[in-house]
Symmetry: C2
Subunit: 170 residues, 2 copies
DNA sequence: GACTTTACGTCAGGGTTGTTGACTTTCCAA
DNA sequence: TTGGAAAGTCAACAACCCTGACGTAAAGTC
């Protein structure tokens, strides 16, 4: 109101692409794209007795080796009972190694075994093929925008986790 | 190799942003963002006896009124048995109306009732609030890139369905 | 040292979502 | 008209996630 001119020109600019119809289309795009996003690893996982939950656990253990169960819980956003079921099978199958914490013996630090890393590689390769293709088709500017919007769409806590993982990986 | 200069300059440009690390980050961004994407409607749905599947059905019936069960099957990518359970409850609860086809009596045409439209509005309002906020924060160019990448990420059949819905809605 | 909290694991029970298999009704074509 | 294909429905089962409760071990606190 005070700076009416600037604000109205800004909102006017945005009204052009923030119609309900445009938002509806974006919602559908998100839905269809996510289906594609998970399709390739899913195909690999059905052949084993695994599901998407196993994939997620493997992904983040690979990404943050030595992470604790509690930490993983926060990243995945599931209950410990749910995660435990997944972890139990992964450990039994020799894909994940659980190590009692040195300083705090209550904690279990999680690592991928050689076999676990191999599966992770297989799964993320499959997923990256599609991403790489989409990114190449869309071009660098589109990819930058893509990531900006995704980040803005996250819950604040998730954005924090995401940023921390990015810093670790870089 | 034949047109080494053009190709290498193009791929060189892309190699800068298509590293495995960058792709990994994008995968995580997609994961975290999708969580946010579904969080708001999910919160509303738990209070009723409904889940995400009901939301999807309601969304697409609203989007393509009179669609058949078979058509909806293709959009949602589930088996007809799975969809049927959802539809049965929605019809029983008076949110969806099923009409026997006139030319082909095997088909059922699906419509939202008044109550169905009300719920759809509630759900998509909640979802759009987040999208609108993310889009406003990211800006128009980022949104354009976002949609370009999402479209490139879809399976070809899904991209086709998506495009058709877009044309209908516009 | 007693008490509380934290980290992890597990059992029991229930809900949604997805699948396969078997079935009916309707359409269409040989 | 008969037989196959398509659309939809019903039933049973598995996967995955959730809540709630309980147990154990270790850490932190008074």
């Amino acid at each position: 109101m005070a700076d009416g001119r600037g604000a109205s020109s800004y909102s006017g600019e945005n009204l052009l692409f923030l119609t309900d119809e445009q938002l509806r289309q974006a919602i559908e795009a998100m839905f269809f794209a996510y289906r594609g996003f998970t399709a390739d690893p899913d195909r690999i996982l059905v052949d084993m007795a695994y599901g998407r939950a196993h994939h997620r656990a493997i992904h983040f253990i690979n990404r943050a080796p030595g992470t604790t169960v509690n930490n993983l819980l926060g990243l995945l956003g599931v209950t410990k009972q749910s995660l435990n079921r997944v972890l139990r099978t992964l450990i039994a199958d020799g894909l994940v190694k659980s190590q009692v914490g040195k300083t705090d013996k209550r904690e279990r630090h999680l690592y991928l075994t050689e076999a676990g890393r191999a599966l992770e590689q297989t799964l993320s390769d499959a997923q990256r093929v599609r991403m790489r293709g989409a990114f190449r088709d869309a071009g660098p500017e589109a990819v930058a925008g893509f990531r900006t919007v995704l980040e803005a769409m996250m819950d604040p806590e998730m954005r924090h986790s995401y940023t921390k993982l990015k810093e670790n990986g870089a």
